[in-house]
């Protein structure tokens, strides 16, 4: 829970849940586990607002509650989960992945569940069906059964999971899938119906119909079974994608297809933190290859041996003819590539050369660096010191004599991959926080202009709906002057750019986080 992480979490909470929740969330993140009264007193917030915020945080899984430290009789304590709040940054990626895998229906299901934290299956199905019907043409509506099938597919592939059950006193155990055996079991619910299209003239009928629908929901039979998004599964998917694309760019398309097949076969059997995939025989791979890749058996063997030999590629460990994928090494390689490219972009290609050299050769003296990198002494010195001041490179002393006399000590330059990765990850968090702050600043600066344009849009929309003449419309449009329009355009362009940058920094964050996490669990 570093300062940068807390700052970023605060900004994310503020944007999505408002300032009150942000205040309470930041307080919890900084202060550890606290009970209700302490929070209310220390943040000077009225008690009902604190209660509301805590409800919101728990609903979205950002906060856990448990019995106090002094035993079962003490008041309930709340703990905020920094990691979970940081996931909010990745929501667009999750939704987009669901779209690519399961189409619009899957996309909307995941979006709804992310927005609400956790939902029952029947609620999700109804809301999604209504939304899809809304976007369809007149006269058509979405069958519940289609949505249900998309939902079940998401559950079968573990993208959605059940929320862990909460005991009476509020002692929610940390949700690990082994302790929750019914995690992926669909409830026996028969949902028959179609999505309702919301028409403005049917308001009163809708309301009466709405009351009826509420009655139906109560008798649906899956009360208390809430579903949430399984982030770990999505992360596994992203990691697989990264490995496959790395293999594709390093070797060729066919080898990437082989790797993809291997990963897909071991998708549901491998746990997220496994270092190796399950051993698969070459025969199984051969049978599971997609039909348009008609390669013969000996060629497949050749490809497999190629993947084994390649030190930087997919990292296949092959005890005789039983290939497995060393995922940990793959992640380490990806992280290393990220570090190298960061150095390259910030300090130039020659500094990057020095950095790569140090990564490969571990420890080098000043003179050796100059020789191996083929860079003149003065410049090499300069670059090394720059890297040293940025903490990307460390100095290691090796004394020759027991009294550590400086003239008789070796000073070696070295790069440690793991601490450097952690450092860069913190830089990334700081970057994203800065981006968000800048975006908020830009929005605040031009608030007057934005509000004016929103008002004018609303007026235009209402005029068009009531069928006004074109002269009135042009008159209203002219209320924004040309330089103001330009300013608005520039503002939108900046905000889009900042937003898009956040998404891309998050990709780096994901890689570094996965790498660091994979080294932790040993």
């Amino acid at each position: 829970m570093t300062a940068q992480e807390v700052r970023l979490c605060g900004l994310l909470l503020q944007e999505h849940f408002g300032e009150v929740v942000e205040r309470i969330g930041t307080h919890l993140l900084r202060g550890g586990a606290q009970n209700l009264r302490t929070i209310a007193n220390e943040t000077n917030t009225p008690l009902d607002l604190v209660k509301k915020s805590l409800c919101v945080l728990v609903q979205h899984g950002a906060c856990e509650f448990g019995s106090g430290r002094r035993g079962p009789g003490s008041p309930v304590e709340y703990r905020a989960n920094c990691e979970r709040v940081l996931r909010v940054l990745r929501y667009p990626r999750y939704i987009y992945t669901a779209k690519t895998l399961y189409g619009d229906t899957g996309e909307l299901i995941v979006e709804e569940v992310l927005q609400r934290g956790h939902m029952t299956m029947s609620n999700t199905v109804k809301t999604v069906a209504d939304r899809l019907t809304h976007n369809m043409e007149e006269g058509r509506s979405m069958e519940y059964s289609e949505v249900v099938s998309a939902f079940s597919k998401l559950v079968e592939t573990h993208f959605l999971q059940r929320c862990p059950p909460v005991a009476e006193m509020g002692t929610a155990a940390s949700s690990t899938t082994p302790s929750n055996p019914d995690c992926y079991k669909l409830p026996h619910v028969t949902l028959i119906g179609r999505g309702k299209r919301r028409r403005s003239s049917d308001d009163s009928e809708e309301q009466r119909g709405g009351k009826k629908a509420k009655m139906e929901v109560e008798s649906c039979g899956d009360e208390g079974i809430y579903w949430q998004v399984n982030f770990e599964r999505f992360h596994q998917h992203f990691r697989d994608q990264a490995v496959i694309s790395a293999v594709a760019s390093k070797l060729d398309q066919t080898s990437s297809e082989i790797v993809r097949t291997m990963l897909r076969m071991s998708e549901v059997t491998t746990t997220q933190t496994a270092a190796y995939t399950q051993p698969l025989s070459a025969n199984e791979i051969f049978r599971s290859l997609p039909p348009n890749y008609s390669i013969s058996r000996p060629i497949l063997d050749q490809y497999l041996s190629l993947l084994v030999d390649d030190p930087v590629g997919a990292d296949l460990d092959s005890p005789p003819h039983i290939p497995t994928l060393n995922l940990q090494r793959a992640l380490a390689n990806l992280a290393r590539a990220t570090l190298e490219s960061v150095v390259q972009e910030r300090f130039g290609s020659r500094s990057a050369r020095i950095f790569r050299l140090l990564l490969r050769k571990r420890h080098l003296e000043q003179k050796q660096v100059e020789d191996f990198a083929m860079i003149p002494a003065k410049e090499a010195k300069d670059m090394l010191y720059t890297l040293l001041s940025e903490n990307l490179v460390q100095l290691q002393e090796i004394p020759k004599t027991p009294d550590h006399a400086p003239s008789r000590t070796f000073y070696l330059y070295t790069v440690n991959q793991l601490p450097t990765a952690r450092l860069l990850l913190q830089h990334c968090y700081k970057t994203v926080a800065n981006l968000i702050e800048r975006r908020l600043f830009e929005t605040k600066e031009n608030k007057r202009l934005l509000e004016k344009s929103q008002r004018i849009e609303a007026i235009l929309a209402s005029l068009q709906a009531s069928g006004a003449e074109p002269e009135q419309l042009t008159e209203v449009e002219e209320m924004i002057t040309a330089p103001e329009r330009q300013q608005l355009e520039a503002l939108r362009h900046h905000i889009n750019k900042l937003d898009s940058t956040e998404n891309q920094v998050d990709e780096t964050v994901f890689l570094l986080e996965s790498y660091i996490f994979s080294t932790k669990t040993k």
């Binding site: 944007e15 999505h16 849940f17 408002g18 300032e19 009150v20 929740v21 009225p46 607002l49 509301k52 915020s53 919101v56 609903q59 979205h60 929501y91 667009p92 990626r93 939704i95 987009y96 979006e111 992310l114 927005q115 609400r116 934290g117 009163s204 972009e345 910030r346 300090f347 130039g348 000043q366 002494a377 010195k381 009294d403 400086p406 003239s407 000590t409 000073y411 889009n496 750019k497 937003d499 898009s500 940058t501 956040e502 998404n503 891309q504």
Partner: protein
């Protein structure tokens, strides 16, 4: 342990480690020492890589902005409650004045066209609104609107009753202070009835 340079009399440039080992040659110019904090936006030597701008990136951007917008409308967005002023602390005059525009606002928000009338005709106002509300009840479509309007009308009635009570009370107070009836002053003379006793002071 390494010993101070000055004490040994080795000269100004003595440092605890040998300079050559680190790589600075003898007599070479070191970079100038820094006298102020580094600038806030230092000039970059290497421009950053341009953003990836593809269909995927644009779609995710749209998703993100839409998500943020949706979150603001959901009940999860907790807003700070508006603080209510303590009316007892403000003088009575301000209270009435503020309530008048309040009354005008509520009357405008009702669907029926009611002109803002001066306070003495408030009772007539109320009756007109009630009449119009009763007419509205017959339309089934506006059933809910009417019920909410009736509620509003009731609220307004209560407010106006309070207001009327106050104004009547104030008028009575005025009447009690002076010994003359209100009609006596209608031809434009001032109110100050008490000051008639003091003939020395000029009447402003």
């Amino acid at each position: 342990m390494a010993g101070l340079g000055r004490g040994r009399g080795r000269g100004k440039g003595y440092m605890s480690f040998s300079i050559e080992a680190v790589g600075i040659g003898k007599g070479e110019n070191l970079p100038p020492s820094i006298l102020q904090p580094t600038p806030l936006f230092p000039p970059m030597e290497h421009k950053p890589v341009p953003l990836v701008m593809g269909e995927e990136a644009e779609y995710m951007l749209a998703l993100k902005q839409e998500f943020r917008g949706n979150m603001k409308t959901l009940p999860f967005y907790v807003r700070q409650a508006v603080s209510k002023k303590d009316w007892k602390r403000l003088p009575k005059e301000l209270r009435i004045r503020v309530k008048k525009p309040l009354k005008e606002n509520t009357s405008l928000s009702v669907d029926t066209p009611v002109d803002p009338k001066p306070s003495k005709k408030t009772r007539v106002d109320k009756e007109e609104i009630i009449h119009k509300l009763e007419v509205g009840i017959t339309l089934e479509k506006k059933e809910e609107e009417v019920t909410s309007d009736e509620e509003e009308g009731e609220k307004k009635k209560q407010e106006e009753e309070q207001q009327d009570g106050e104004e009547e009370y104030d008028e009575e107070e005025f009447e009690e202070e002076t010994d003359y009836i209100m009609s006596y002053f209608d031809n434009g003379e001032e109110f100050g009835g008490d000051s008639d006793d003091n003939m020395d002071e000029a009447i402003y």
